[in-house]
């Protein structure tokens, strides 16, 4: 095996292997990886069409040189019926753990379920949301042939993490997971990432609360970049876009770091990337809003995947962030943030739109007292 890999290093370079076991893989080129798979498999293996049952049997019998009787016997022995653990005529309830289980997994599950039953809260919000999301993403069949996902395409699972806050250590890493096909560009990935820092409205509006402009920072500051394996992929779709990576590259050059290069985000498809699976990379936008991006999985498409091309990038996991409520009513999500406010219990303080206006303005809309008001977008805006 070792000798073989030495002989043709070219072809094995793109067979991903662990760099660190169970943590991340070595870098590989996504498209070459796909070709390696396609080279190894028969077209029928990755096609979304099913082979005919009888053809399969006939092929197998011929291949192995077994007679028809043996084949029939083999089919009977290997059928699903031979694995059935309950009488044929009664269907067991698969939603409950069977009584007095002997498998240790079931013993554990029973213990957990008994514990959960003893709790007051029986419903898990996250479970509900996850099921809802699953319903939305399941089996999207394309309407036209054009929208159909091509066979032999790669699907990448990409986790985008929220900017880390180290004030409070938590084992939960809030993130969203996206499914993307190899033909997507990085710019499409960028557009699929929702972050509240894109929605902020800048400026102080205590004098004119109704005049808060519609310009959100997404439209004002359009520069962004991804960083994968020593290459900065810059967004250059709009004339306003600045090259944010140059500063870093020059800084790194001055300090004897390995050289970094640049590329264009919208021209780079995901299959063109060279990356490590499971390794954290960077997405940076709005100047300093930094997200970790981890590609957790690369694989060929399967017939059970959502085959409608239009539905990609497909959201498969979303973290529900708890929202910050108005300091007055504790019902609605905060919309305004005030500072230097004599009327507020704290500095800064959050208000919903209604409470903010009732407290800070009279009937004619005149400002009461001195304060500074800023528009506020909650972190849970995308829930």
């Amino acid at each position: 095996m070792a000798a073989a890999s030495k002989q043709n290093t070219d072809s094995t370079v793109n067979i991903p292997d662990y760099e660190e076991t169970n943590v991340n893989s070595k870098p590989f080129h996504v498209d070459s990886f796909r070709n390696e798979w396609l080279r190894r498999l028969k077209p029928g293996d990755w096609s979304h069409q099913h082979e005919d049952e009888d053809t399969f049997d006939a092929n197998f019998a011929e291949d192995m040189g077994v007679s028809a009787e043996t084949m029939a016997e083999l089919k009977a022995v290997c059928s699903v019926d031979s694995l059935r653990c309950h009488p044929k005529d009664q269907q067991p309830d698969t939603d409950v753990v069977p009584p007095d289980p002997r498998l240790s997994t079931l013993i554990q599950r029973k213990k957990k379920q008994d514990y959960r039953a003893s709790l007051k809260i029986t419903k898990n919000r996250h479970d509900l949301y996850a099921d809802e999301l699953e319903r939305l993403t399941v089996g999207g069949q394309p309407e036209t042939e054009e929208d159909k996902l091509p066979e032999g395409e790669v699907i990448l699972t990409i986790n985008v993490y929220y900017p880390a806050s180290f004030a409070k250590f938590n084992y939960i890493r809030p993130h969203t997971s996206l499914l993307m096909t190899g033909s997507h560009t990085l710019a499409e990935l960028r557009d699929a990432i929702c972050c509240v820092s894109d929605l902020q409205v800048l400026g102080e509006f205590s004098g004119t609360p109704d005049m808060a402009p519609d310009f959100i920072s997404k439209e004002l500051y359009k520069s962004a970049f991804f960083f994968f394996e020593g290459v900065f992929y810059n967004d250059t779709r709009f004339p306003e876009c600045k090259d944010m990576s140059m500063t870093i590259i020059e800084w790194a050059k001055a300090r004897n770091f390995p050289p970094y290069s640049q590329a264009v985000m919208e021209d780079t498809r995901l299959v063109d990337l060279k990356l490590k699976v499971g390794f954290p990379y960077l997405y940076c936008h709005q100047g300093d809003c930094e997200h970790l991006v981890i590609v957790t999985d690369v694989r060929l498409t399967h017939e059970t995947d959502c085959l409608n091309k239009k539905l990609y990038p497909l959201l498969i996991h979303k973290h529900r962030i708890s929202t910050q409520k108005c300091a007055v009513c504790h019902v609605f999500i905060g919309r305004w943030l005030t500072t230097k406010d004599r009327l507020a219990p704290s500095d800064p303080c959050l208000f919903c739109d209604k409470c903010f206006r009732m407290l800070h303005y009279d009937a004619e809309g005149n400002k009461l007292g001195d304060f500074l008001a800023y528009s506020f977008v909650d972190r849970g805006a995308f829930n």
């Binding site: 694995l83 379920q113 479970d127 099921d131």
Partner: protein, 350 residues
Amino acid sequence: MENYREQVKADCEQILGRFQEKDSVRFQVFATIWREMNFSHIFYGAVKREGRAFVRLILDTAYGYFLPPFSFQIRVGGLYLLYSLYQCQTNARRKQIRVALKDWDVVKKFEKDAVDAQHVDAVYILRRLMFLKAFHFTAMPTLLDYQKRRNVVKSTFCENFMDRSSHLPEIINTELLEELSNVHTMYTELKSSVFPPPQQTDSSVDLIHRDMVPQLLSTVKDFYKWRQRKDTRTAEAKDSGEGTSSGQESSKRARLIASIKSKAYGEAAEASKSRRHRQVEVNFSSSEAGPSFKPVYTRINRPSLKARTKDNVHIISKVWKDATGTTNVSRLTSLELDRAEIKSLRENSK
């Protein structure tokens, strides 16, 4: 799902262990064990999100047994396990088995071996899985998200499942020995050219032991001999049956106690007492015969003091209660024997 990992592994190892005992690679045999263990029930009670995550976990675990370094029989068992799990999962939408690119050649080799050995059912199951489109062709066998485990549990795959014969030749072969002796001779030559002759005898500057190569060789040979002897012995023991070889009262008694204990403490006792006893015997005789293998120092992860205390107190008090119970009743009849029994029981429990 993390907290099911141990249990799932234990269950998989149990079913594969029973399959191994049967000494067969037939699917029929596997299916019988499956039904006996009611293994389909493993999916029951896990619904919706939990169910999906659980199927992922158990398929990933079972996939591990389908690959080397396990013996061919276990790998066939692993394949059957994958097939059965895939077929029996209760989710509306089936989860696929993830097969990594780097493992594909191994899978193909396995298929070829099975074809050559005319294991028709194994080949049929594998092709059937392909036909059912039960595989995801992936880059890595599991989803990776850069989670570094804090207390890394070393994957303690069941030793019995390993293909043992192949390990040693991989590490020590003739090439390595030649290389070693070459380096050694070259080094001695160099050294003798540098130092004046009288200093050459100074052993403190030796690179390796003077006769390391022959020593290594003889050790390996000894190990092989010992292994062979052990294998034939266990084979003999199997032939003669469990009953006859343990004719002595003591071993019978030990087994009895072991069985009681295993009943009392669930699955904590792994190998039956008689086995352990016999193994020790073999080790002893082999260490007399020559090869001196010092056990490699391995770090044992002990549970916390609290856990240990809880365990110990629990066991002792239980035994103590039983023991006092019997003594109170039977003190009038036979005092001596009972005392001895209690003592042995207590020792065993420790």
